[in-house]
Amino acid sequence: MAASFTFYVLAALILLFGVAVVTAKNTVHSVLYLIGDFLAVALLYASMNSLFVAAIQVLVYAGGIVVLYLFVVMLVNLKRPPEEHQDPNRRGTLGGLMVAAVMGELVVIATYNVVRPAPAANAPTPVGFVEPLAMALYADYLIPFEVASMLLLVAMVGAIILARREL
């Protein structure tokens, strides 16, 4: 009972903040809603007993990536809003129709009941503790981990080169 109540509250928050992100007129307000959305998602992870991933979500998404967005929004201090010369209504209807169509499809897929047995190859490991996660990350998925770190390094160098004033 308490678990489903938490879920519904958090789900409502996530969706409301999500809608606010894509509809807000002011870009800075949009970024603010994005922070709220990420925090609500982190709370959802915490309600799934995955405190480690919840903390990483707050640290990297809410505390790191969104600061970058805010920084860029403030640097790109726009004189005129980019939506000003558009006809957002027509696009909104068209986009809404497309989204509704795919959404209906996803709902059908998600609620289509097929009972499958649990994959037997993976022995169940307790979720929510740091140790099994660390073992999976540094033993089973070591090479993807190293590739991800290379990706981050390349992205960092690329971002610095791109943001430099003279190319």
Binding site: L34, L44, I65, V99, A110, V127, L133, A136
Partner: protein, 100 residues
């Protein structure tokens, strides 16, 4: 009781909100934020199945998605800054030339 279907519906809705943002907004920063919403929707699914099968691998993939999102944000925002410096706009409709 919260079943994986609940999480999947939440994730699908958040995903479609992100897609709606990408389709309808012209401000490239907001389009980027919509992509972050889509990535979060994917993460919710991964975490839900990790909980369902009591298996940490879903969480490992979530961490990878977060790392990729960080890389994407850094490079993408760098491109936006470089573009803004040349064209004084962040409207995606005006990003229609391969060189200038």
């Amino acid at each position: 009781m919260v079943s994986p279907t609940h999480y999947m519906l939440l994730s699908a809705t958040l995903f479609m909100i992100g897609v709606f943002g990408v389709l309808t907004r012209r401000n490239i920063i907001i389009i980027f934020m919509s992509i972050e919403l889509i990535l979060n929707a994917v993460n919710i699914n991964l975490m839900a199945f990790s909980l369902q099968w009591q298996n940490s691998i879903g969480q490992v993939f979530t961490l990878f998605v977060i790392a990729v999102a960080a890389a994407e944000a850094a490079v993408g925002l760098g491109i936006i800054l470089a573009f803004y410096r040349n064209k004084e706009t962040i409207n995606i409709d005006e990003m229609n030339v391969m060189r200038w």
